[in-house]
């Protein structure tokens, strides 16, 4: 096992070398005449208006959160899948319960339209939050 991961280490080192060499050659042979206009960021030929590091759509964040939950689920599924044939029915039932809980989570975000890129008008909960509504974003 150490031998195999040692081989991977050799591959990492060679990979770094193979990326470094072209960068070095380029540094040596390419011209370098910088000017103020050249160093501007591209914005259709106009002068760049402000920084690009500003707030972006919250939906990317929501997608990342949902991804995290399901990715952890997959991490649990891998060892389960390896030993599944030995464990049989019991493993199926246990993983079934685990998956059903997560599928309920998927159903929840689905119903709440968090999977839609163009968000529908959704009522958030009942009772205390009954009057809280999402604004129409279409």
């Amino acid at each position: 096992m150490y031998r195999d991961f040692g081989t991977v280490l050799v591959a990492v080192i060679l990979g770094i070398v193979m990326v470094a060499i072209p960068l070095l050659i380029q540094k040596l042979i390419a011209p370098s005449k910088k000017s103020k206009d050249k160093l501007q960021t591209y914005e259709c030929g106009e002068e760049a208006e402000g920084s690009a590091w500003l707030q972006f759509n919250i939906r990317f964040y929501v997608i990342a959160l949902i991804f995290l939950i399901f990715d952890v689920e997959i991490v649990f599924l891998f060892p389960w899948a390896v030993v599944f044939k030995e464990l049989g029915l019991l493993a199926l039932i246990e993983m079934g319960i685990f998956l059903i809980i997560l599928i309920a989570g998927l159903a929840y975000v689905w119903v709440k339209a968090d999977l839609d890129w163009v968000k529908r008008n959704v009522r958030y909960g009942t009772g205390r939050y009954q009057d809280v509504r999402m604004e129409k974003t279409t």
Binding site: R3, V19, P22, A30, K33, A64, V83, G88, L92
Partner: protein, 344 residues
Amino acid sequence: MDLLGFIIILVKVLVVFAATMLTVLVMIYLERRVSAFMQGRLGPNRVGPQGLLQPIADGIKFMMKEDIVPAGADKPIFILAPAILLIPALMTFAVIPFGSDITLFGRQIPLQVADVNVGILYVLALTSIGVYGIVLAGWSSNSKYSLLGGLRSSAQLISYELAMGLAVVSIILLSGSLKLNDIVADQQGYLFSWNVFKQPLAFIIFLVAVYAETNRLPFDLSEAEQELVGGYHTEYSSIKFAMFFMAEYANMITAAALTVTLFFGGWDFPLVDESSLGILGTVLSVCSFILKMGFFLFLFIWVRWTFPRFRYDQLMKLGWKVMLPLALFNIFITAGYLTVRALV
């Protein structure tokens, strides 16, 4: 470890790296020629016979160009991002077995760089590192197009990674091992022992996810030229720009090789027992692997000129509302079938 063993490892790593780079060059050439053929054009045909030296001319041109780092960019990350993308892309191929064992110098040498016991996890982990390269490239450029392209691309990659991972789980259920060698050995024998016949649904999910993971049409929203200029590599120039393309093609090669390994028996040539044929068997297995991989590489180009690009909301809908439930369903079916078969 003895010296000969170390030399063998070094040679294998070098050969696989060189082969990957060579295939990248061939793919860049073929992509342009086949695209041209499909559109009734000629494509590059001036540099060398039939334009075969065109990728090398491209490479030299990239090297000779001035490298520009925008004044507002975050310089260290800007330089690091293409490396983060390219190094894992080159390394992934290391765990893929590309032929049956060969006997040289009186010892058996497996045609695989590293027989890691968690091979498939290694592949998935390295493809995930690629996401960092894209996000960091998009963010560090300090350009609006780059930021939008990087964000879109990362959201797309993580969405389809789920479906891809779940499709792989159903394969592991069948083989009971994370080792790619065991998965290939599991598919030996007659033609219908290939996983594609046992797991057609997983294959379709995996194939679609692969196109999304490699940012190829119809999923190339991160660099949708008409709206985002160049996506996350808008601000890159010179050799760093070339690195993004090398990484994309290296990823395609690995993806094709992985598809073959997981679903098409790897280096298996149907109805032939390679290990009994000695050196001839090894040659046959390597040829069979290259042929299958070549087909999937060609499929990448073919699909590119066949399907139009998705809209972003359609992309998310397909990923989360179709692929993910289907992949989960497939796992239930596979696990249920295996249980019933064990009980009966």
